[in-house]
Amino acid sequence: MSQEQITVLQAYSQALMDAMTEDDEVIVLGEDIADPEEGGVVGVTKGLSSKFGELRVRTTPIAEEAIIGAAVGASLVGFKPVAEIMLMNFTTVAMDMIVNHAAKLRYMSGGQTHCPLVIRTMTGGGMSTGGQHSDYYEAWFAHTPGMKVVCPSTTEDAYGLLRSAIEDPDPVLIVENLPIYWTKGPKPASDHRVPLGKAKVVVPGTDVTIVSYSRTALESLGALQALGEAGISAEVIDLRTIQPWDQETVLASVEKTGRLLVAHEAVVPFGAGAEIAAVVQDKLFGKLKAPVKRIGAPFNPVPFSKPLETEHVINGAKIAEAAIALVKG
C-alpha cells in the first residue's frame, strides 16, 4: 500500500470512482451529488458525473423514499446502486424502503431477488448543528434482519469497507462520520478491501479491551496516553462492522484481558453496546474480572449550546476515565 496520504473523504470518493470504473453496474444517486450541483454538499461524489455521466450519477429531488426506492428497484435487476442519504437523521423518512423492502425482498421472494445496494449516510456530533443533524442510529439497522451496517474510521477502512459494501450482495448501510472526513491517512491501492464483519485490533493490550467504531475508535486511541500514565495496558478494537459484528475477535480479546468497555457516540440505552455486552457476558461468563461497561452519549437529544454539545459527545478523556474506573475498580 502506497504511503501517499489522503483524507477519509477522499478515500470514500476514490472508492466510488474506482468501483464505477471497474463495474458499469455501479450507479450513484442522491441529493446534490452530480457535478452541476458541485458533487455533493461535502464533495464525496465530486467528479463522478463528469466522468460517468448523469444517467449513472444522478442528482435527485429531496425525496429520500424515492431515492431508496429507486436504489431498491435498480438493484433487483443487477445494478449496484450507491444511494446517499445526506444525514443519518434523514434515514427516518426512508425507513420503510430500507426496513420493509431492501432488507426483506430476498427473504420474501424466496431468494428470487435481492438488493445489492449501498446506502451512504453521514453523521457525527461536535459541529453545532443541533438536535436533528448528528444522531447515530446504527442500532436500529443492526436490529433489522437483511441489513448490514458498517462504520469506518480510517482512510483504509473507508475505502476498503465501501468497496466491499458495493461488492456485497445485500443492502449495506455505511455510516460516515462527518467530523473526521478531513483527517488523513495512507492512500489505499485499488485492490484494497476490508471484509465486512471483521474487526481490527488497532492496539494490543492486556488489562482491558476497548471496543468502539466510527470516530469513537479514534477517540479510544486518544485515551491511550492517559491510560498508559495510569499504568493500564488497553487493547483497542475498531469493530468497523456492526452487523454482522466480529464476535470471534472481541471474545478472544476479552478472554485475554478479562475486561471490556464498549464505547460509541450513540446514546447508551438500547444502543449497539448493549448487544455486545449481552453476548460477551454470556459467552465469557465466569471469565470476566469485571462487568462489561458501556459508555456513549447520555440519554437526551443533541443540544446546540457548545458547552452542552461538548459534554454530550463522547471523547478520549471520558473513555480513559471509564477504562481506568473499570480496571482500578
Partner: protein, 325 residues
C-alpha cells in the same frame, strides 16, 4: 386517447385474462370459505378489466410492482396458477417457496418483481426498475399498480415527481375502487380526480373507465407507447369497484347499499362477455370453453398446491443474506 379500439383477437385475449382472474378470485374465496386454506385474502372481483387490458400491452420482460390486492395484476402479467397457489398455500413449490405468501409474491420470470403490503411502496421501487431500463437502453417499461387511498401517501408524491424529472418509463396505474379499507374516496382525498395530480408533476394524468376494456386498453397502450418511446411516465386513474370489501371477512357495512348494488349490477365481466358475442368476436360456446378450461386449471392448481410439501425448517433462516462475493 387513441381512437381505434383493439382488434378482435386482442379483445378475446383481454377476455381470456378477465375470465382467468374472475375464476381465480371465486375459487380463492371458495377455498378459504371451505377452510381448505387460511390466508389474508384481498378480493379484486370487479377490477379484472384493468390488469387484463393493461397486460395485453406488456411483455414478460416488462416489470410489474404490485400490492397485496394484486393477484389479478400478477395473473394477467403471466404468473402461472400452480406457482401462485402453491405460494399462497405456503408450500415449497410456490414462487417464493411459501415464504412470501399472498401479499409478497414475486415471479421474476414473468416480470412480477415486487408485491408489497405497504401502501404506496410499489411506486418508488418501480422507478428503480424503469431507471435500470433507461440505463441499459432497453424499451422495457415498469408498471406500478396501487389504489386510490395510496395516492394520498408520501411515496406516491415522491415517486411520481422523480419519474417526471427523470423522464422514467414508469406507468402509474391507480385502481380507483372508491374506498381505502373502510374510508370513502372523498373523505381521504382532496383532489376531485386523482388524474388531476398529473399536473403536479407535469405528466399526463388520464382518467379512464377501468371497467371498460376498450377504454382501458387505449389508455394503457398510449402510456406504454410513451414510456417505450422515452417520453416519460403516465398516471392512469382507472375507475372501478371492489365487490367483496377490503379483505376476506369484511362485510363492507360502510358501503351504501345502493352504491354496492349499482356497482355489482354494472359488473364489467358479463357486459364484456355479451359484447364479444354481440360483436361476433366470439361465440357463447367459445367463451364457455375458455371459462370451463380455467376451472379445470384451477382444480389442478389447488390440488397441486395442497399436495406440495411445506418448506423445511431450514428455510426459516435461509435467504436472509447471500454469500458474500
Amino acid at each position: 386517447m387513441i381512437p381505434n379500439s383493439p382488434d378482435g383477437p386482442t379483445q378475446l385475449e383481454i377476455f381470456r385474462k378477465m375470465a382467468l382472474l374472475k375464476a381465480n378470485d371465486e375459487r380463492s374465496r371458495k377455498v378459504i370459505t371451505t377452510g381448505r386454506l387460511v390466508m389474508p385474502y384481498y378480493s379484486y372481483r370487479g377490477q379484472e378489466v384493468i390488469p387484463s387490458a393493461l397486460a395485453v400491452n406488456l411483455k414478460d420482460t416488462d416489470y410489474l410492482c404490485t400490492i397485496y390486492r394484486g393477484i389479478h395484476d400478477m395473473l394477467a402479467k403471466g404468473l402461472p396458477l400452480k406457482d401462485l397457489w402453491a405460494e399462497i398455500a405456503g408450500r415449497v413449490d410456490g414462487t417464493c417457496k411459501g415464504k412470501g405468501g399472498p401479499m409478497h409474491l414475486t415471479d421474476v420470470k414473468h416480470g412480477v418483481m415486487v408485491t408489497t403490503g405497504i401502501v404506496g411502496a410499489s411506486m418508488p421501487i418501480a422507478n428503480g426498475l424503469a431507471w435500470a431500463s433507461q440505463l441499459r437502453g432497453e424499451d422495457r417499461v415498469a408498471v406500478a399498480t396501487f389504489g386510490d387511498g395510496a395516492s394520498n401517501i408520501g411515496a406516491f408524491h415522491e415517486a411520481l415527481n422523480l419519474a417526471a424529472v427523470w423522464k422514467l418509463p414508469t406507468i402509474f396505474v391507480c385502481q380507483n375502487n372508491r374506498y381505502g379499507e373502510h374510508t370513502a374516496y372523498a373523505k381521504a382525498t382532496g383532489a376531485k380526480n386523482i388524474a388531476d395530480r398529473g399536473l403536479a408533476y407535469g405528466i399526463p394524468g388520464v382518467r379512464v373507465d377501468g371497467n371498460d376494456p376498450v377504454a382501458m386498453y387505449n389508455a394503457a397502450r398510449e402510456a406504454v407507447e410513451r414510456a417505450r418511446a422515452g417520453e416519460g411516465p403516465t398516471l392512469i386513474e382507472a375507475m372501478t369497484f371492489r365487490f367483496h370489501g377490503h379483505v376476506f371477512g369484511d362485510k363492507g357495512g360502510y358501503i351504501p347499499k345502493e352504491e354496492l348494488e349499482e356497482a355489482i349490477a354494472a359488473d364489467p365481466y358479463p357486459r364484456f362477455r355479451a359484447k364479444l358475442i354481440a360483436d361476433g368476436i366470439a361465440t357463447e360456446a367459445q367463451l364457455a370453453e375458455i371459462e370451463s378450461g380455467f376451472e379445470k386449471d384451477l382444480d389442478e392448481a389447488v390440488d397441486f398446491a395442497l399436495a406440495s410439501p411445506f418448506p423445511g425448517i431450514e428455510e426459516l433462516t435461509s435467504d436472509v443474506y447471500g454469500a458474500a462475493a
